[in-house]
Subunit: 391 residues, 2 copies
Amino acid sequence: MSFHPPKRTLMGPGPSDVDPRISLALARPTIGHLDPEFIRLMDEIKELLQFAFQTKNELTLPVSAPGSAGMEACFVNLIEANDSVIVCQNGVFGGRMKENVERLGAKAIMVEDQWGTATDIGKVKSAISANPDAKALAFVHAETSTGVRSDAATLCSLAAENDMLSIVDTVTGLGGIEVAVDDWTADAVYSGTQKCLSCVPGLSPVTFSPKAQNVITNRKTPVQSWFLDMNLVMGYWGQGTQRSYHHTAPVNALYALHEALTILKNEGLENSWAKHQRNHRALKAGLEAMGLELIVASENRLPQLNAVSIPDGVDETLVRSKLLNDYNLEIGAGLGQLSGKVWRIGLMGYASNASNVRLCLQALEAALLDQSVQISAGAAIAAANQSYLNA
Amino acid sequence: MSFHPPKRTLMGPGPSDVDPRISLALARPTIGHLDPEFIRLMDEIKELLQFAFQTKNELTLPVSAPGSAGMEACFVNLIEANDSVIVCQNGVFGGRMKENVERLGAKAIMVEDQWGTATDIGKVKSAISANPDAKALAFVHAETSTGVRSDAATLCSLAAENDMLSIVDTVTGLGGIEVAVDDWTADAVYSGTQKCLSCVPGLSPVTFSPKAQNVITNRKTPVQSWFLDMNLVMGYWGQGTQRSYHHTAPVNALYALHEALTILKNEGLENSWAKHQRNHRALKAGLEAMGLELIVASENRLPQLNAVSIPDGVDETLVRSKLLNDYNLEIGAGLGQLSGKVWRIGLMGYASNASNVRLCLQALEAALLDQSVQISAGAAIAAANQSYLNA
């Protein structure tokens, strides 16, 4: 029997709601991955990704697999056995970077910060001083497990000044906050399609600086993954009309990504960032009026992903079930050491809108009242509305 | 500007035409990858894949990336550095297996056969005798570059008798010809969605026997790919309702795969195989009436992928361009050492039908007449029609 999914509102850490224009694009007729029209599409996607990443990097393309594979693509191409890499961890995804480094037979030098705080610049400086031969500095720009933004510009500068490559996770960042690859002098940056791009999950946009590209073409050993080897992938996504077959591209997912990036371009990056800020402020006003607290300090907060402390005595699983069952509304649970301690409320891309802010506040209020949590009923929506009036 | 693909008829080596029912499924609203409804979908996909592969293997799931990643998943999970693997090559994809083995720091012992012929059982027996300590025997059941079927049942038996794991590529096989994983006693088998399943490209169904699963859980070293590590993937695709997050599943592509497998189940495996045979015979009759020859001996021919010798003096690129531009018809070029020597005409899944057979014969006839090749005009369609009457 065919599967008919319920119509959810997706306000978790991603996937986020897909723009219906993008769903339509996804369903268009499949063409061959070597069709001249498809090659033209690839060229346009590359240009649109350069726009979104704010880069001129030639090696800019979507990896044909989810964000985790984009992360892996950066590490397996740039790092070789016995290299060492300074890895900043302030949430789940820094830990995954460590895994990637170690599975390459390389050494991960960890810079650890409390989950919910940004990567500490001072600690990174010390780690660089203590490990001047490290090949790369890897960090998470937008930590999906905590809702924290770290200072990518400063971290990439530190790497560049010390002749290290920078590897940047901005899976949740792209389209929601500024990502300025060239201004940052970032060397390898990966993202996902299912967050602020409002596209379906399954692809991972990546970009490599000319310096990184040079490292990849001059490796001592082959890239350990054939599928993710950029030396081969470049032959398919490269310049000119002669593209050599590497793997079969996920054609329809790429239609969707093209549409998502076209929508972002038409909206404008600054407008998209401002939209994310506006809706974040309204949500925050509502949550605080309800007596709930965000765990991240305001200066490091991702507007697109709000980690909220779960009040004492609340059965958090029951709250999420109620939201899902009574409102078709998905919010995210905590991950790793924040499991059971926070909810993660996403306001990403197409799903970042006033109607979702109000839906979430109302549903959360009802679910908490249901558990006899003392909150001032009605205050949340009023505060959110006031925030929009002030915007 | 939005991208609007031309409406092609896809008769190359894949992607093949996507059934409109599957396109509709693809465009359904995205839900979260931990949504209870999505977990239910995953369970159904697993069952449907077990049906398609004819297996009871618990570890049966779609890898969240194209067939090349499915291949890599089999090798990186089962093989460790310094292992040796007997790899049978009779086309492009055996060569890719060799790449996979070598990038693992393992040794590939090659058994080479002429492209366009099946893997020679005698040679494999000799290789096994000469290398009794090899950990696995890897071969291509359905070689997409040549249209050859090798004897999977015998090859898997040889592996099992000699206490080796068998690793089987049936990217082009699944749904088009018999794939009997349990009867073969195959240990690791991978396929693709964009061939005889008529689904969009981007996923790779894989299945591992209990013996293979045991090898994976008892490795000496970690799997070198985090993304493809089945020890972790199992936690997400495993039993029970508690699924641990590994990576964000390509939700919409999985809707499409579910629909594709549902269609296959309703049609019945034997009916699907018979359909592929029937249309193959009609195409073959037409091609031969036109004076063209298939390069593969009839006993080893894949009905879903027909490699046709290009007659002397024909500008093959011009023929394919003409088909694409005048008929919106894609057929495949030769790959690797068969480049310029063959066309590959696919009749896969939804695209395996009489109307496509006739379209292709007519278009090819016109394109060849255009280049003044001596062919008996009209004979092809008559022969194909006669073949259908005899069926």
